[in-house]
Amino acid sequence: MATPNNLVYERPEAFTDMPTHYCPGCTHGVAHRLVAEVLEEMDLIHKTIGVAPVGCSVFAYNYFDTDFVEAPHGRAPAMATGVKRVLPDRVVFTYQGDGDLASIGMGEIVHAAARGENITVIFINNANFGMTGGQMAPTTLPGMKTTSSASGRDVETQGYPIKVSEMISTLDGVGYCVRRSLHDPKNIRLAKKAIRTAFETQVRGLGFSMVELLSTCPTNWGMTPVDSLKFVDEHMIPAYPLGDYKISDAIKQIKI
């Protein structure tokens, strides 16, 4: 019988009722759900302002039951800076894809991190520009085929992937910077714990926090959702090792 006592899991309250526009099996949805669960568990729904990017998650603002603003492509960290600086007691997070954060918005993210802006960044690395139809992103793997690297990314002419977490973690303003993956239940749980820690970092005023999430794009990768998870495991993780790139001592003390 369905009573609150035997309920194990239900859709988080931090979500609105609106179904997402994401393709079936796209793990953008998992990342959303984890953020929603964390906001709910930390009782932050009513003091949070989200900053949506340009990319597949442009409509993130439709799904979270919090205040939201929508940034120009790549500028979410700057917008979040503006919000947070005048509302330091509110919780501010950006949600950005790899084209948004690591291509057009590289300047904004690096400087927000360097300034130690007390914001949380959820960074979705799906190795391509999903929204515009699967072009090469700065994170596209060498040899990976995209609609703008049809015979596979040639590093000689198209450069090398950018390892964002490794790079961001070198900045002193950063309190928390880790890479997780969304490809199986165990890793999803670890990702959620990381998202929780990132928001705890912000709530405690311990500096810039970012969680990079390896994510799928079944549609543009041309794979089933299940095969996409395998691709993450077999090809993305070797190129983008999971791990804790920076956790400041103060954040290590946080018990969740």
Partner: protein, 81 residues
């Protein structure tokens, strides 16, 4: 004996992506080919007994479509008046 559980899959949210199906450790899930959601997907469902209420399906679901329940095995303590 394994805990007994059951799930509900929302027709509004399920997109038939099968991620839950491949993740379910008890292998009790499949797409319901006899049913279409309003958006035109075959939704996931449990097709046989054996669900433990472990919630792994809900953990992997990108659309927060699954609600998970588990039978309560421990009786709530009764309070003497």
């Amino acid at each position: 004996m394994a805990a007994k559980g059951w799930i509900e899959v929302s027709d509004t949210y399920c997109k038939g992506c099968e991620l839950c199906i491949s993740a379910c450790p008890q292998e009790v899930m499949e797409l319901d080919m006899s049913h279409l959601t309003p958006k035109g997907y075959h939704p996931a469902h449990t097709f046989k007994d054996g669900c433990t209420g472990c919630a792994i399906c809900a953990v992997v679901c990108p659309d927060a479509a699954i609600t998970v329940y588990r039978e309560i095995t421990k009786r709530p303590a009764t309070v003497a008046v």
